[in-house]
Each structure stands twice: as structure tokens, then as C-alpha cells.
């Protein structure tokens, strides 16, 4: 009862993060991705592009591009418009304009593994293979579904919509300037070469690592986590080729091969390459 009273009071004052119940305005832009898919990097890129004068870092990123699972409802509702909002949510028909970041699930699973150790969701000696099996079954330590549920729910409903822009983490790695130019066009921000280069420089993994060292205690996602494990980790694509056990690789590809291929991720477990297609 006491708990409910406190929570009722917070409801009344709008002091809770709205999450899936966020009020959506027609001019909103959502920066959406599955967790561990480069959302924070993209947030820095976009914040540096849209608000360079604010000098975005971990201390103000939540104010510049609010996270609807962290910022209180009333602050999100009062944010200057048009708002750019960060989200990990699966399909929501109300989101009007969406920048969706997708990353190779073989890298996502490793990143999630290390992040879950950092935030003490799993012990440090948790077997990777077991983690991957649970990841593939959608048994994850967050409410955003399995990788395929999240990606497919957006990709197949909105991919032909001009108000949906799909950017892969891997393309951002290879050609950050070009991809950021696409994003700028999508957001109606002038594609000034200097401004793009500046945003990419300000959001480099090295700079973000330095900021993390100084500001980890100021940011919601790193505040109460193990400080011996970095949030900005390898910041590379293809780490799975070295670190993901063969059996786990096969498991991911067997489960999600069709969707992966459609997004452009090559499958490597050859005897499984066609399994997905012929199963039915």
C-alpha cells in the first residue's frame, strides 16, 4: 500500500519515465534500435550534428536526446520541439518518424553479454554459449523482445515508408560521414561537410571512452555498474568472428538467417545457409 501510494504520487506528478506510454507528438523523431546496437554512438552523432553548441557528453545527452525509459514523463513532455527521442521499443504504430539502427546480431549478443556482466545481471563466469541460447530464445534481461522480434516488427511494417530510415551499425563504421549525411537529410539538418566531420570526430570511440572515464557516474546507463568494465567497449564490427563459439554462431544463424540475409548480413555456417528457407 505504501509503495502504491508513493508510486501513485509519482504518477500524479509525472515523475516516472513514460516508456511505452510516452505521449507522441506528430513532429517527433524517434531514434530506435535494439539494445547494444550502437544507439548511444548514434545519439552522440545526432546530438553533435543537431546541437553542436551544447557540447554533448554523458552529462547532458539525456537532456538533448531524452531516453523515454530514464527521463521523467513531465520533462520529456516539456522538451523543446521537434523532439528527438531515444527508444529501444519494438513496433509502436504511433511513432511518426523513425531512424532505426540495426546491428549484426552476432555482435549484438557479445555486446549484451559484456554489458550484462558490467551491470551485474549475470556473473562474470557465465558461459557464453548458454547466454547465446537464451538470447536466441528471447530470454533477455530487458523488455524489448528478441533481436528478431524487435527488428522484424519495425522492418516489415515500415521499411517502405519515407518516414523510416534504416541505418546499419556496420555502414556507420565503414563510412560514418556518408551515413551521417543520409541521417542529416532525413532530419532536415543542413549537410554541411564541416559540421558532419565535426560530429563524427566528437563522437569517436576514443573520445567517448575518455568522456566515459570522467562521467560514468553522471549517466543513467553507467552510474551503478561495475567501473572495471567499460560501456564503450570494442566499438567495432565483426568481433563475433573471433569471439563467438562455432555452435553459438550456428544457433543464431539457424534462428534468424532469413531476416539477417534480408538486411544484408552474410551467413557463414555453410550447411545452414539454406536451412531456414527450406524448412517449410
Amino acid at each position: 500500500m505504501i509503495k502504491r501510494l508513493i508510486s501513485g504520487g509519482k504518477q500524479f506528478l509525472g515523475m516516472y519515465p513514460p516508456g511505452r506510454r510516452v505521449k507522441v507528438f506528430p513532429d517527433d523523431i524517434f531514434l530506435v534500435s535494439y539494445p547494444k546496437s550502437g544507439n548511444t554512438w548514434t545519439r552522440f552523432l545526432v546530438a553533435n550534428l543537431a546541437y553542436p553548441e551544447k557540447n554533448p557528453d554523458f552529462s547532458n545527452i539525456n537532456a538533448l536526446i531524452p531516453d523515454l525509459e530514464v527521463m521523467p514523463k513531465r520533462e520529456i513532455e516539456r522538451a523543446p520541439r521537434p523532439r528527438i527521442i531515444k527508444s529501444h521499443q519494438y513496433f509502436d504504430p504511433r511513432y511518426p518518424k523513425i531512424l532505426y539502427i540495426v546491428r549484426d546480431p552476432r555482435d549484438v549478443v557479445l555486446s549484451e553479454y559484456h554489458f550484462d556482466i558490467k551491470r551485474r545481471a549475470i556473473p562474470e563466469d557465465y558461459p557464453v554459449q548458454q547466454f547465446v541460447s537464451r538470447f536466441v530464445r528471447g530470454e533477455v534481461n530487458h523488455p524489448y523482445g528478441s533481436w528478431a522480434e524487435n527488428v522484424a516488427s519495425w522492418f516489415y511494417t515500415r521499411r517502405d515508408d519515407p518516414r523510416f530510415l534504416l541505418v546499419t551499425y556496420e555502414a556507420l563504421q565503414v563510412q560514418a560521414i556518408d551515413e551521417l549525411a543520409r541521417i542529416a537529410r532525413f532530419l532536415n539538418i543542413p549537410e554541411d561537410a564541416e559540421r558532419l566531420a565535426f560530429a563524427v570526430k566528437q563522437s569517436s570511440a576514443d573520445r567517448m571512452r575518455e568522456l566515459e572515464k570522467k562521467q560514468a557516474h553522471l549517466w543513467s546507463s553507467t552510474k551503478e555498474t561495475r567501473k572495471d568494465k567499460p560501456f564503450v567497449r570494442s566499438a567495432k564490427a565483426g568481433g563475433w568472428k573471433v569471439d563467438l563459439p562455432e555452435a553459438s554462431l550456428a544457433e543464431v544463424e539457424a534462428a534468424w538467417g532469413g531476416l539477417m540475409r534480408e538486411i544484408g548480413y552474410e551467413l557463414v555456417v555453410s550447411n545452414l545457409a539454406h536451412a531456414g528457407m527450406e524448412r517449410h
Partner: protein, 286 residues
């Protein structure tokens, strides 16, 4: 401000309407569909199947096969588990076990049009032809467009053993075997007699009679135009007579891949296979 305060009080007492903000349990089963796709009919079917000794009608259907949106969180928490709940939500990852009921969108458009007239969501002067583009854009429902709804569920869950796709049309043409399929999925032991009884008790005629007597006692029909019925044609393919050719074409051009995947034959337009997503071509799980 006052409204917010009232809500906060209701919230503390657990009497606030749940909306889609209620606790979902891992053993819940959801009967999900886009609006106007036969959800109420199947609710009656299942309620009659599960409670063969009770009279199911519009006065108790919200309790017998609950619609969380219009019930209090407290009521939902006290239901015996495993619960079976009705929903019109597009893909929701919390719903682990789902019967997804889908209906030909050309019929859904016609049904929604009449329902929106009944509910006074649209003026009596709006024509079906004017209504269809808004329907396609998802502007006639808070649950997104028909395409978004069906694609979000099918893309995320097709092939998952805890997902059962049922076509309204199959349920109409072969009620017994489709109902048997649903019963098996839900783990309900029922022989053909009990199945047939549930089907008979949920017939369109019986539901029409109940509606006449009880329209004021059900959230779906209360405060609506009574001269327009809720249980309307209860048929498939009505669009062939009532939907203007131009509107048919608009729907088919917009949604051909999914219509094709679901086996709804196109009338106006050859399917361009390049636009078809892989999961539609192969029906594979993702």
C-alpha cells in the same frame, strides 16, 4: 489537473482502467486481432467452449473472456490463471502465447466503416470511398493500419509454436475444424459435440438476438447509434458487392504482399514479386 488527481487515486486503489498498462503473466494467452476482424465472435466461441454450463452473453463477456482495456487492474489481477485475454494491440513482446485472428482487409474496411458510423466516429455523410484511404493510412484506428498490425505480429512470431494464425474466413467456412485447432492450441479437451455446442451458441443469429436485448449493457455497443447493428453481415467477401472498384484497387496496391501471403486473392492487380518480403515468400520463421 483534477483528472490527473482522480487517476492517481484510482491508481492507488487499483481501480484504474488497465488500458495496455497491466501486468502480463508468462502463462497468459491472448486472442489478438485488428478491430473488426471477428474478435467478438471468437470471444463468444471460446467463452462458450470453456464455460459450457454458463450462459455467455453481452452482459458477461467482458468477465468471461476479459478485454483488459476496459477492466480494472485489480479485477485482472484476481482472475484465475492461466488467463485468456482479448486484445487489439499490434505486436506486443509481452504476449508469449497468441491466437492471431486475421480477416480480409477488404471486408475489414467495410466493417470498420459501418462501425465508425455506428460509433459516430465519422459523420453520416462520409462515403466508403472517402473512408478507405484513411483506413489504409492507419488513420481510422489507434492500433495502426491493418498492414502494420498483421505484419508486426506475423513477422515477429510466424513459425513460433506459441503463435496460431487463424483466418476469419476459414472459421466461417469450417467452424468445427478451426475451433478444434484453437481448442487444441489452448489445451482445452473438447470432443466434436462440445465444440459444435459452442459454435451453435455463438452463431450470428443468436448474437444478433442478444445484441437487441443487451446493447446498452456492453462497452462495445453502449452509447452508439442503435439503428446500425454491431453484429452486421458476419460473412466473408461482402466487399465484392459493397466496396467500390477503386477502393478495392487502393487496398490491393497497398497491401498485395500480405494479401497474397494470407491467401486472399487479388482482383485488380498482378503481384510484383520483387516487393514481397522474404517471410511472405517462404512463410519461414524469423
Amino acid at each position: 489537473m483534477l483528472g490527473q488527481f482522480k487517476y492517481a487515486v484510482k491508481y492507488v486503489l487499483g481501480r484504474d482502467q488497465a488500458g495496455n498498462n497491466y501486468t502480463v503473466f508468462p502463462d497468459d494467452t491472448f486472442l489478438v486481432s485488428y478491430p473488426k476482424s471477428g474478435n467478438t465472435w471468437v470471444r463468444f466461441l471460446l467463452a462458450n467452449l470453456i464455460h459450457p454450463n454458463q450462459t455467455i452473453d453481452f452482459t458477461n463477456i467482458n468477465q468471461m473472456l476479459p478485454a483488459p482495456g476496459v477492466l480494472s487492474k485489480r479485477f485482472l489481477r484476481t482472475l484465475p490463471r492461466p488467463r485468456i485475454l482479448k486484445s487489439h494491440e499490434p505486436f506486443d513482446v509481452r504476449f508469449r502465447k497468441v491466437v492471431y485472428l486475421v480477416r480480409d482487409p477488404r471486408d475489414v474496411a467495410v466493417s470498420e466503416y459501418h462501425f465508425d458510423l455506428k460509433k459516430r466516429y465519422i459523420g453520416a455523410d462520409v462515403t466508403l470511398e472517402q473512408f478507405v484511404p484513411r483506413f489504409i493510412a492507419g488513420g481510422t484506428s489507434s492500433y495502426g493500419s491493418w498492414w502494420e498490425h498483421a505484419a508486426s505480429w506475423i513477422a515477429a512470431r510466424q513459425g513460433n509454436p506459441a503463435f496460431l494464425l487463424v483466418r476469419y474466413e476459414d472459421l466461417l467456412s469450417d467452424a468445427l475444424s478451426e475451433t478444434a485447432k484453437i481448442a487444441e492450441f489452448l489445451g482445452i479437451q473438447a470432443g466434436p459435440e462440445r465444440l459444435q455446442e459452442a459454435i451453435d451458441k455463438s452463431s450470428a443469429d443468436r448474437m444478433r438476438k442478444l445484441e437487441k436485448q443487451q446493447a446498452d449493457q456492453w462497452t462495445g455497443t453502449k452509447n452508439t447509434r442503435k439503428e446500425i447493428p454491431f453484429v452486421r453481415a458476419a460473412k466473408s467477401g461482402g466487399w465484392k458487392e459493397t466496396l467500390p472498384a477503386h477502393s478495392v484497387e487502393e487496398i490491393e496496391v497497398a497491401w498485395a504482399p500480405l494479401l497474397n501471403f494470407l491467401g486472399y486473392q487479388l482482383q485488380s492487380h498482378e503481384l510484383d514479386c520483387k516487393t514481397v518480403p522474404a517471410w511472405v515468400r517462404t512463410g519461414q520463421s524469423l
